[in-house]
């Protein structure tokens, strides 16, 4: 039940906000931390329970579709869970102070809580549907948070881009999930993974691609990475939490989960490693050219995500281990750096790199924390980042295949990181000639708590990495399904990895020293590489799409009534002819048995009259001709024994004609509106309709499956219906419900005509 609680408390907690108004909430803002503390407590309890094995809770949702809600805590979930909630705690603390100056304090935290709940849901979910539900929820929360400053067009566009991309990925994932569920007969992740060997390989490749798309969009992998820099429009706590430490890791979580199943595919290896490498280089390289602090961090995040994906792709035990460690490293330093950016932003009023500076003098604490975090980012000792990088190099070095090449590329990418770290340190903290701004230069303790804590953690683990060994070993066993022992050490001795580390740092330093010379070259490369700005292209695509739909709509829903009708008729004709040809045409035989001279004459006159209606330009002639046809039909009814019908037809026809005449008095003459060509075309269509109907009727006469039901009426009309006029008995007794409906139609028509003619809205036309 603890699983439900840990998600539920976050989801329900915002309801309490109704009790407070915004000011009160700001005053008692430490209340906001409560649910996260509860969750960390839950995590602690699980820590002890996990020693004996995973914890599972099953809830029935839609058993008929095999959908069962399962929550499952294993070491791997636990790892993510703690990451989310510990970072969450600090971010909430930070945000409670940071957001004080914003409107919509309550709203912000509501979204953030729901997001945290969803994020916990993803990692605790034990079945794919539940996972997907929470997955989509994080997309929505991310959308709402990126667009938090929704009055600005930039925020709106960024949030739209983010949502569309992640939602598209979500749909791919959904398809994959349902497909997998269908193949495995269950959505339980354990069962799906266990069945992997029995699965049919062909469809598995499509499923694999779909999952990859889902994960890549969420984790901002090339070519979907471009939404992430845009997402920096969100308030800084959001960037720290969603777009670096947690949500973007959801895709990675998914890849980890599917490793045992998909890892056996050769595609897995290539697609993931290559995408990872591209993303890694792309991110770190693009970061070189940014001047906004948050943008820099965003691109380095992309790079880090690429690194992790690449490591998962390599799929050796070492590489998975490296990925796991690197995940922690990155979460710690990136959250810390983002929060510091926010602090600096508050103090200096800007995030532009060039305009900040000289922080060392005014805010030494910030500087120390920042420097340590940046060291971690650069992968330098004594921070945990160093360990992360070492393990990573080691993994690649030991891995087969193209991993060596990747090793080289990682060194370059990491050198960029070193370079960026140095650049940031220098530009931010050393004096650069700018005047210290007049903003309040004090940083609030609530906002510094997070960075400080994370830095300390990273420092401690950096010094004593072996304390993490067992833990990562446990996780690794769970992911790969085999028991694994791993070792984390600070000092590996003089080996290749050490040399590589050294080379990285040197390269970074060199870049820094020769910055002025190299920048020009890099800029050239950058501009040539990125002639296409994906963000803008995406906006353009949307614009083009809207334009296209507009053209297309005007083509389809053009408003010309007769073309609508024409399409309906053409569709019908095509359909009828096709069916007629498929089932064979019927050659009519002329049966003279029932033909009398009268009917022939009547019919011929009617045919002539029809011609008159179609061609005449006089309204009176048309109406009279119409009446004549009606009377002709009445005559036909009469000759074949339908006297009631004939009378009704005549009266109804007369009434219709009278109304016609009354109405036409007020209307203009027929004008010849259409051209000869269109008349010919319409005539052709009309004739075709007529012909198909005729053939259809003749064909219908060919089939006569059974005796009609009406013998019964003949037999029972007098005895049970007490009437000799069978038609009337049918109307008022056998099928009286029809008649009831019929008079209802009439009644509605009458009242409707009354309202139509007498009721006109007083207010001006709306819409």
């Amino acid at each position: 039940m603890l699983t439900m609680l840990s998600i539920g408390i976050l989801a329900i907690f915002p309801l309490l906000f109704i009790l407070f108004d915004e000011e009160q909430l700001k005053k008692h803002r430490y209340v906001l931390l409560l649910p996260l503390l509860v969750n960390i407590l839950a995590g602690t309890i699980w820590f002890f329970q996990l020693q004996t094995g995973p914890i599972e809770h099953h809830f029935q949702w839609i058993t008929i579709l095999n959908i069962e809600t399962i929550f499952r805590v294993d070491w791997f979930s636990w790892y993510f869970f703690m990451l989310i909630n510990v970072i969450g705690l600090m971010v909430f603390l930070y945000a409670s102070a940071y957001m004080k100056s914003y409107d919509g304090y309550k709203r912000f935290f509501t979204f953030l809580y729901i997001f945290t709940a969803a994020m916990n849901g993803i990692v605790l979910a034990g079945d794919l549907i539940t996972l997907f539900v929470f997955w989509e929820l994080t997309s929505i929360c991310s959308f709402l948070l990126i667009g938090f400053n929704h009055r600005e067009a930039n925020s709106r566009n960024a949030s739209l881009t983010a949502l569309l991309i992640t939602a598209a990925g979500g749909l791919a994932l959904l398809t994959a999930v349902i497909w997998l569920g269908n193949l495995a007969g269950s959505y339980d992740i354990q069962k799906v993974l266990n069945l992997s060997n029995a699965l049919h390989r062909d469809s598995l490749i499509i499923i694999f691609i779909l999952i990859i798309i889902g994960a890549f969009t969420k984790s901002a992998q090339f070519p979907f990475h471009f939404w992430l820099p845009g997402a920096m429009q969100a308030p800084t706590p959001v960037s720290a939490f969603l777009h670096s430490a947690t949500m973007v890791k959801a895709g990675i979580y998914l890849l980890f989960r599917f490793t045992p199943m998909m890892g056996e595919m050769v595609h897995w290896y290539y697609v993931l490693s290559l995408t990872g490498v591209i993303t890694m280089l792309l991110g770190s390289f693009s970061a070189l050219f940014q001047s906004d602090l948050k943008k820099i961090l965003a691109y380095t995040t992309i790079s880090a995500l690429g690194t992790i994906v690449m490591l998962i792709g390599i799929d050796t035990k070492m590489s998975i281990k490296a990925a796991l460690v690197f995940l922690l490293v990155h979460a710690l330093y990136k959250a810390s750096l983002f929060m510091l950016t926010g602090v600096i932003d508050k103090i200096k009023g800007t995030r532009e790199l060039k305009e900040i500076g000289n922080l060392w003098k005014s805010n030494p604490v910030i500087c120390i924390v920042a420097i340590l975090s940046l060291l971690s980012m650069a992968g330098l000792p004594p921070m945990l980042g160093f360990i992360g990088k070492e393990v990573m190099y080691d993994a690649k070095f030991q891995a087969p295949g193209i991993a060596r090449l990747m090793l080289l590329l990682s060194v370059i990418s990491n050198a960029f990181m070193v370079f960026i770290s140095i650049k940031l340190m220098v530009l931010l903290f050393l004096p650069n000639g700018n005047q210290p701004s007049s903003h309040s230069s004090k940083s609030k303790p609530a906002m510094m708590a997070g960075p400080v804590a994370f830095t300390i953690i990273a420092f401690v683990f950096g010094l004593a990495p072996y304390s993490l060994s067992d833990f990562f070993g446990n996780i690794l066993s769970q992911i790969t399904f085999t028991p694994v022992q791993i070792q984390l050490k600070m000092w590996h001795g003089f080996n290749v990895v050490f040399v590589l580390s050294l080379a990285t740092i040197l390269l970074g330093l060199l870049l820094w020293i020769f910055e002025n010379r190299i920048t020009g070259l890099f800029l050239k490369i950058y501009r040539n590489l990125f002639t296409i700005n994906l963000t803008h292209s995406f906006q353009h695509i949307i614009q083009y799409f809207l334009k296209f739909t507009k053209i297309q709509t005007n083509r389809i829903q053009h408003g010309v009534h007769r073309y609508y009708l024409m399409i309906i008729f053409l569709f019908s004709i095509a359909y009828i002819w096709w069916k007629l040809l498929m089932t064979g045409l019927y050659v009519p035989t002329f049966n003279t048995e029932n033909v009398s001279l009268l009917t022939v004459v009547v019919t011929s006159i009617m045919l002539l009259t029809v011609g008159l209606i179609v061609t005449t330009r006089s309204r009176v002639v048309a109406v009279v001709a119409l009446a004549l046809i009606g009377y002709g039909i009445a005559l036909l009814f009469m000759t074949y024994g339908a006297i009631d019908l004939a009378i009704t037809q005549i009266i109804a026809d007369t009434l219709t004609m009278i109304i016609f005449v009354i109405v036409l008095q007020k209307l203009p003459r027929f004008a010849r509106l259409s051209s000869k060509r269109s008349r010919m075309r319409d005539a052709l269509i009309a004739l075709s309709v007529g012909l198909s109907i005729t053939l259809l009727i003749l064909k219908a006469d060919m089939v006569n499956i059974h005796q009609p039901v009406s013998d019964y009426f003949v037999e029972n009309s007098l005895t049970k219906g007490k009437g000799q006029n069978i038609v009337n008995v049918i109307l008022v007794d056998f099928r009286s419900l029809d008649t009831l409906g019929e008079i209802t139609v009439l009644a509605v028509a009458a009242i409707g005509i009354a309202t139509m003619l007498s009721f006109t809205l007083n207010k001006k036309s709306h819409g």
Binding site: K666, N728, V732, A749
Partner: protein
């Protein structure tokens, strides 16, 4: 149009049409006729009046508004379904009784006849209402 002829003729015409309509309605169960045809003939009488004089005059002659004929007619049709529900437990089932009248002899009365009467009244209301609306708004007279 020369109205004088119509204005002279509408009253006797109306009486004739009412009688004809009753005749057609009553024999409808056994020979051509019935509620719908009867009602159309009946309304013809009042439509003539409306055309000859004006719609208000015709409305007055109808005693109640044509709309109410519609309501009443529909209600009668609904009511006719109730006996069947009570006696046979299936609504709209025909229930018949025979009444002996001094002059006419045995007359069979049943819910289908009530239903047909409902149709008659309703259609009468419908046709007159429709025609009056058209005549009034399009200013025939």
């Amino acid at each position: 149009m020369d109205k004088t002829v119509l204005q002279l003729a509408y009253k006797p015409l109306r009486v004739i049409l009412i009688i004809v309509s009753m005749y057609y309605f009553l024999r409808g169960h056994n020979s051509p006729g019935g509620g719908f045809i009867g009602a159309l003939i009946l309304s013809a009488g009042f439509i003539f009046q409306a055309m000859a004089v004006n719609t208000n005059s015709a409305r007055r002659s109808m005693l109640i508004e044509p709309e109410w004929y519609i309501h009443i007619g529909l209600l009668m049709s609904i009511v006719s379904s109730i006996p069947g529900w009570i006696y046979v437990n299936t609504p709209m089932t025909g229930v018949w009784t025979t009444i002996n009248l001094p002059l006419a002899g045995d007359i069979k009365l049943g819910t289908p006849l009530l239903f047909d009467l409902g149709v008659y009244v309703c259609v009468f209301g419908v046709v007159t209402s429709m025609s009056f609306q058209f005549l009034k708004h399009i200013k025939w007279n």
